[in-house]
Assembly symmetry: C2
Homo-oligomer: 221 residues x 2
Amino acid sequence: MERHFEKDMNLLKERLLWMGSLAERSVHQAVHAVLESDEALANRVLEEEDAINELQIEIDDRVVQLLALHQLMATDLRFVLAISRINNDLERIGDQAVNIAQGALRILRHPRVKPYVDLPRMSDLVEEMVRNALNAVVRRDVELAQKVLATDDQVDHYRDQIFRELLTYMMGDSSVVFPAFELIMAAKNLERIGDHATNIAEDVIYLVQGQDVRHPTVDRR
Amino acid sequence: MERHFEKDMNLLKERLLWMGSLAERSVHQAVHAVLESDEALANRVLEEEDAINELQIEIDDRVVQLLALHQLMATDLRFVLAISRINNDLERIGDQAVNIAQGALRILRHPRVKPYVDLPRMSDLVEEMVRNALNAVVRRDVELAQKVLATDDQVDHYRDQIFRELLTYMMGDSSVVFPAFELIMAAKNLERIGDHATNIAEDVIYLVQGQDVRHPTVDRR
């Protein structure tokens, strides 16, 4: 029974990592569709959304099966519930990638507004956050999770910089208002993806350190 | 044992509804802080964030306790897992209210840009979505959940209208770029709140109809 649980649990983690890699790829492709005005790449992101959604349902089912088959201790329960939440975060990262890809298709209709220097840097950081957050889950690695939280501050810094630069650009040339706004929205979506990675990382810290930290206050209710 | 489970379950639903009403109030206050340039109201939203975060932790704990105490059937497990996801959605609705309140504080520094006609309408709809989505959960009311999904289309329509109007406004008068952009972000945050309510409503539909709909494909793995 115990080994059966471990086997189910490992399979669950494996599927979660697979979903994470699909979500990360979607983000990468969507941002490159914006950067390289690549319509085909944007459409590929839209097509691949179904695979992520199906994987979300599969992982939800596996969580239900696992809980139905095994009577778990609180520690393992917390981990399984965290996987269910993370599954949700990954699906929403996929949604944000779709939003960016749809923006890429709208940007194509306008003349190119400026070299996108900060956007690829911001995207690299966000993709790294998603990757590190998932590895932190699987390895229960608090240090890596802390790194994700620290990176989120850098991402917010890039977002502010991109916003400020593009808004100033809009003030100077009203013909770029619409395409510049689409770039702002892409940066906003990337920020949201970083937030999802942050949520995942916070779950890891809570899982690993939470019992100890929160134990003294258990009788607060 | 069975009645004990029902008692725990009812308490859980009660706490979830309470959290929902706190989140809804935060959204309402944050939007009115924008509309009425009310600094004190914006600050109240920031202060009340902690209560929502604490409630999220409490509900998570109750979910773990409930699963640790009772060996549940798949149907009840799905419901408890949905509550855990919805708990997350409500906390993020609270986060978005905080974002709107922070925007309200930034808007105060600029001259008032225009009468905000569509924003309060959009906000009313979004608040109604949150309320209906939670009632749909507690009553397992698919019809009400469907209504939430239908309202989301109206919300997206308002968002597009607000975006278009404010961007056009920015093109005509570069001095309003920054405050108009803040209003766009408020609308964007409201849209995200509507998305969270939609996620909750989708959970209800899946919970009530899902078993039947998905049953034929159970052997797909």
